[in-house]
Symmetry: D2
Subunit: 292 residues, 4 copies
């Protein structure tokens, strides 16, 4: 490698990313996402990938093609060369899901050191979601507004009561670490969250998809559509095409699709191939993607 040709003496700067530094992206009723800092972009992915190729192949591939190739073939280590740092404000309930992604660096607001943020996520009267009957962990449709109004009112009362009790404890001199114990999960917290692009795509792949809970999906969508799309636009587009909007076909799915293409009846072939009802149904749903 002729390293003299490779080395910039400046950090990679992404003009589109610079524009959104310090810009507040609002989320839910009182949450937000900031891009606080970033390291690298599409260019850093290419730079790192090319360390593998040495001088010889340097000119052959062009950037977009290379990034798409990496995404397609799961050569994900060059994506780890881009890093993003966010400041977020989100309800603790949402944060409980967020923090499960272990490959990030985290600094959370401490309610041992400081008084808890005086804000809890409120549910508008027309946004109470009904339990899904087909998806045990999902929701579907909304409660009628007249009933929702009642629930929202009671929610507000509970928030007020919980906060008052919290403050009464503090006024009694109770330690913050203990006084906080009955705050509702809807209480907002804040955190710095720093992650590399590969792991961020993993997060977005799970949290932008329709099965993710609505609240975290809103955050993930902002992070993807409004921020990552600026920091690494080529990689982000490739992530959507090859990741988020792609479909995985299992061995049996491939067999099923093959027989469907030959003209067999989908219902009948599915029954022959899939013993398990749930797998069969999922295959038939998948199949609709290939029809009009």
């Amino acid at each position: 490698m002729e390293d003299s040709q490779i080395y910039q003496t400046k950090r990679i700067t992404i003009p589109e990313a610079e524009k959104i530094l310090g810009q507040k992206f609002k989320c839910l009723d009182d949450g937000f996402v900031y891009l606080v800092d970033y390291m690298g972009g599409d260019q850093s992915i290419v730079q790192a990938a090319r360390v593998s190729y040495g001088t010889g192949t340097k000119k052959i591939q062009e950037d977009e093609g290379l990034i798409r190739y990496l995404m397609r073939h799961r050569h994900t280590t060059p994506l780890e060369m881009v890093e993003l740092k966010f400041h977020i404000r989100t309800p603790m309930d949402c944060w409980r899901q967020w923090i499960r992604h272990r490959t990030a660096n985290v600094n959370e607001y401490s309610t041992r050191y400081s008084v808890a943020i005086d804000s809890a996520q409120k549910t508008p009267e027309d946004e109470w979601r009904m339990q899904s009957t087909i998806n045990k962990q999902g929701s579907s449709g909304f409660l009628e507004e007249s009933k929702g109004k009642e629930l929202s009112k009671k929610e507000e009362e509970l928030h007020k009561l919980s906060r008052n009790l919290y403050e009464e404890r503090l006024a009694n001199g109770i330690a913050r670490e203990q006084a906080r114990k009955d705050l509702p999960l809807s209480t907002y917290t804040e955190a710095y969250w720093k992650i590399d692009l590969h792991n961020l795509f993993h997060f977005l792949g799970l949290r932008m998809e329709p099965h993710a809970q609505k609240e975290i999906r809103e955050y993930a969508t902002i992070i993807g559509e409004d921020i990552v799309s600026k920091v690494a636009p080529i990689a982000y587009r490739a992530f959507k095409e090859y990741g988020l909007n792609s479909t995985r076909l299992s061995e049996l799915d491939i067999l099923g699709l093959k027989r469907y293409i030959k003209g067999e009846d989908p219902q009948k072939l599915a029954e022959e191939i899939f013993n398990n009802k749930r797998e069969r149904d999922e295959f038939l749903i998948k199949l609709t993607k290939f029809k009009d």
Copy 2:
């Protein structure tokens, strides 16, 4: 390596550990810790360490000496060869701290799939802790019982109210993922938690020490004293001597202690060495460990 000598054809079994499998260790008012499974013990640490030495040194070191040597010199990779799996029940507030340890495997009870556990941690009237005045994140002493009684009563009311509202939401058909949003942080959750011994010692080192919050300290102490002490007794003892109960002396601490040993006045030498008041005070506190 003469591998024929190394290989057992059975898993390493620790009789003391077998006895506590499936045994419930109670914690707080309604929490618990179970040892669900384990892989290896002191013997596995030795086995792994010896892969480094080859045949030649196999007989020279005896097990305890070797394990203590590894702990003393931060050769921690052999400790990673032991794995423990727990089932715990803990308040969500405590879990929020627990989950910050990223190097474990976790399966938590899902309140999207299932109705939330109907139990929240209650504070007895004589266990309301006062805010520490010297440690911004700690507590010190207790609230007088007459006042504590009042707080405990209000706590109970809040728990009842929160739960009722949660169940009212469910009765209205609201999705579990949303209905849960205002549960108090004191609500119990459960999880499988699996971790290797090296990372477990890191956890215990931070969570058994006096500055850790009382609630998580109780869990950590049970895990250490009642469970790890059975699975890997030699390593656990070494962890306490070289880790938990050890003291780190900084460059300036070493200098200060040296001058103290020569007979200088501690207050005066501390003022000369440490510009920062807080560092100076911490040095003087450390010094008391070396006096009677």
Copy 3:
């Protein structure tokens, strides 16, 4: 959760796995893989998954269906509850690829402490592989044996010479840590390697597939087919169907396949959809999976 129902007071034992503990699986000319220890199996995956469901759903799902469901929907955390420990002997060149998987615990034979293992991987005269012309990082076909004989002879001489020089250095009293510096990459090393099932499947997914280098593919295949298939047979089968032998279709692939099903000419539609020649070619290759 009625925990009394869940808890075994013994570790989960897999009879098929017990049979292969301490059994040597040979690999390459002088390498091996041992299963040294394991924690859990299919049953542990189910056990952990059910902590999510609580009592209510405990009887509804049967084990195989549940495991397959988890694999299909990337609910991978229960897979992390199974742990396997191996002892392997592999050439350093192969180990260089192996160690790139960062989510494992590792104890490698130390050539600072001990004299390097006196064995280097030899290439039989009919196994010199030719550079692939279509895959820059692959091989394809073999060198004719007469030439291979020559190369194998020279290889043997180089191994002998390198070893002699290594031993000459040691005889001169040179430190092992320095004497080793010119050992060939083909020199065998040994290691304990411990990993959870989720991360092991990730490893196998990358290393059992045809593009992986032949040497590591041999190890991965033994680990998968001879060992994991015994420890967690249901999960392993699901991994093959949903992971290893599955196909991912990108947004554009789905579009292309849809048009193909409608009867459009594959070559023509591919040209319309894919700007990039490489992507187009890969689509056309993928398409052959759905024809006879």
Copy 4:
């Protein structure tokens, strides 16, 4: 938190770090280290730490005191908010140790894709190190030059021979992935290596210390002294005082030192306290730090 006060709309720029971007730091005979990119510095540590404190405490602590406090009390998460990216060239033998640090992002030069770098680390005739007699994994002193001359000559011949054989294989059309198998471990490789400051300090703590092998110690020292000292000077100084140059005293060490301070005879008290000869000797060596 009044976020409007916190947010810069520009990335944190460290003038001293900017100066060394793209500057080559030579190491060994043909290796190097470049700082390719960085994210944040001392200021980012403070920024992240303060998310814990909220508005109230913002003005009380000054930066240096806060960073030193964090280092002293193992509050290491704010250190993870700084990220550094290096391009290094190092012998594969050294890289084998380097890569054991799992918490970094890595892109290594691929000898499957490209012809191996034509350079191997050479040992000058006066730098052949003798095996340490007290430290089984270390070296101590040098071989006399007349003998060293002979070893260096043979080393050069071996390098030449190995390279010739490698190129002969390539000339025969052998796949690069196989042709490389007998390259000496001294062959140079290159990599991008990206890591956060907390994990970098862990690396430096192990690799800058006297027991680390000389080769990797040279790299670590350059990274610490020439690069990290520029990117985060306050944190680096604190790392040296509280980490690298600190001493850990075990429970028994503390007891021993206490008795020594009271005037007891070191040899005698050590014999009473430490059963294990090795521990005793290490205590006595430690004691010399507190004498002149």
